[in-house]
Symmetry: C2
Subunit: 412 residues, 2 copies
């Protein structure tokens, strides 16, 4: 019996062990699948990883093969550090950080040299006070300047590097002539780091922030078009049958538009730093994308209300819906067409001529709907379609506004 009992314990322990291993394997496989999906969704991410590896290897090889190899304890460290910190996903990010790093290092170094010279001249007693005092004041002022919106948007990283360089130089305790040597070496290493970064970033499968912003805008417009159409259809189909899951997933598209403000802003910020590339000329009107984005969010708020009408429990009577259904569906389709045309013209960066026709079409549809609504009262009372109407009425206004901005952006 004991043997059997022991065997039972052993078997149970074995089973437990096996189940543990299986659980871990499942967890690891799940994680691996998630990671794989992230890479497969956008292979440029994996490429970005490889690019960082390449840039780092390059900079280390440069320092290995240099005739005078003074060890990373010396200045070569700064090249490695520059590569690690400056390398960003988009070219704009890389330019922004590289420019900020270079300018901040030079300006902070010069100011620190000046302060050190003054401290040097004013005697041993005063020296530490001048150095500490200037460090305190400059660090406080620079940190405070980060709360100014313009500085925050364009020079946030530069301010950090400014404080860092100034404090390192001011507190170093070296004499001014030593410092000049040091500064020269450090500048050259940082320069090498920035050049390697930019070369790898721009030459190997570059990711342009401007292009990303462009694609995001186009994609959002298409999603919005799909959502407008799907929502109107959902609303008029809701009575006849349960809305299909497929249609509903399409009508959720506007949610991406609602949440894309932050990424749009940051990309527009970075895109400003990019040199002309492809169809993006110098001074491409990136600020216009932000305006188009804002107009699209306005539309998305309307779509949100529309879809909450479609989901609401209190629905209009069936016959009222049927009367207005045709006109509304047509209007929805035309709104969607305007958006699709607009997104196509944005994508191709052409003057939107076809959009004008689509807008005219949409406006006639709006007038039709208004006419139908005016004709409706004597026939029967429809509460809910009126809600619909007011929203549909607002839609074209916003769309037209967004289009006007669009057109002005293209013409510029």
């Amino acid at each position: 019996v004991t043997v059997e009992h022991d065997a039972g314990v052993a078997a149970r322990a074995w089973a437990w062990l096996v189940s543990c291993v299986v659980a871990i394997r499942v967890a690891v496989a799940g994680f691996a699948r998630k990671v794989w999906k992230i890479g497969a969704d956008d292979p440029r991410r994996a490429v970005h990883g490889l690019k960082v590896g390449l840039a780092l290897t390059l900079v280390s090889v440069v320092y290995y093969t240099r005739p005078v190899y003074d060890g990373v304890g010396g200045n070569a460290m700064w090249a490695v550090m520059t590569v690690v910190v400056v390398f960003e996903y988009t070219v704009g990010g890389c330019m922004y950080k590289g420019f900020n790093r270079a300018v901040a290092t030079v300006s902070a170094g010069l100011i620190a040299l000046g302060v050190n010279w003054v401290a040097d001249k004013s005697g041993d007693k005063l020296e530490p006070f001048i150095l500490s005092g200037s460090l305190f004041l400059l660090a406080a002022a620079a940190t405070f300047s980060r709360f100014i919106p313009t500085v925050k948007a364009r020079f946030d990283y530069g301010v950090t590097i400014f404080i860092l360089t100034f404090s390192l130089v001011a507190v170093s305790g070296y004499r001014v002539d030593q410092l000049l040597d040091l500064a020269q070496q450090r500048m050259s290493t940082i320069g090498i780091g920035i050049v390697i970064c930019l070369a790898v970033c721009v030459l190997i499968w570059p990711v342009w922030a401007g292009q990303e912003l462009h694609l995001l805008t186009v994609r959002n417009m298409e999603k919005l078009a799909g959502a407008v159409e799907a929502c109107v259809e959902d609303y008029f189909a809701a009575g006849s049958a349960k809305p299909a899951a497929a249609a509903s997933s399409k009508s959720e598209g506007y949610k991406c538009v609602l949440n894309s403000k932050a990424s749009e802003d940051s990309q527009a910020n970075l895109a400003r730093w990019e040199p002309p590339h492809g169809r993006f000329a110098f001074r491409h009107p990136y600020a216009q994308y932000a305006k188009v984005g804002a107009a699209m969010r306005h539309c998305a708020y309307c779509v949100e209300s529309l879809s909450s009408c479609a989901r609401a429990e209190a629905q209009a009577p069936e016959h009222a819906k049927r009367l207005l259904g045709d006109v509304c569906t047509r209007l929805g389709a035309r709104c969607a067409r305007v958006l699709v045309e607009a997104s196509a013209s944005v994508a191709a960066m052409t003057d939107p001529k076809t959009v004008d026709f689509a807008v005219a079409d949409m406006n006639t549809a709006v007038h039709e709907l208004q006419g139908d609504l005016r004709a409706l009262p004597p026939v029967l009372l429809a509460l809910e379609p009126a809600a619909e109407m007011s929203l549909m009425d607002a839609m074209p206004l916003f769309t037209v506004a967004s289009l006007l901005i669009e057109i002005s952006a293209r013409i510029e």
Copy 2:
């Protein structure tokens, strides 16, 4: 005549110079006023600047007065660098960066030591290949891991420091026993830097991310309440007179709610790193704030539609408005009261008992409005108020949803 002419030129040049100086002075004064306003709006920003200055001065003084002062070219540099890079506006940000820096430095240092040991053992020929290869692979993998959302949210900075430390140690070209010495020194300096940062950040007028998030949520709720009430009033007042600018500025409050997603997310992320403080216990349910924020944004979308109804050109006939005006205004006021009560209960972190009453009040107001609307059809046809209704109908649903989440958050 020539003299007069010369005098004219001189006078014009002088006038031009004076106008230039005046223009510069005006610009500088404008900028100064803007900067002053940024500081006056939130004095903690100015204090933050002073805190950074203080921390930097402290760390430099520590290294000045140390018996063995080995110059900033050595390891003291790392303490200064740590302070500059780790010091953040909120305590949560400081903890996050300090923790990430410490853990990433230690783990990357250990792995780099292991790799160096292996490279050391495998002979002079293989050594550079092993070092460069491991650098390439690890840097690529670590960079790619930043695209995983969890890593991005919690360990983004840590990954940077990991790559930095690993590449510095792996490429340094030192032998393993030298490296151990170096590592020990560097750890201690970075430790000193982090301790000084945290001490200054926590002890002197600390800014807690959790508290900021809490205040932001409360303030947004109040603004939303004001906007709901003001919009309904605007809508029914629009016919009688032009809406006053004051009322309209109040009704714009919902726009803050729409745009606060990004700052809410980042603060919730940082708040997780904070130790218990004040009324914020350990494991305070910060994730609930994000849910409340999402519910508030849902409300804000409705308010947006409501206010666009109020601004629309096509308005309902005056008599129809008058019929529904009272009930709607009452409902708007009760919606606002629910939000105010909810914000008060969130602010006080108490179980929202009074909110339940307010919700019940609001629901009776909703029923009243629904009853009035049903009674309306025979009397007269009102198109626009119906739009109003559908929105007002949606409002309480969202509000109730937000409240339920709220209540569950408090009870937890």
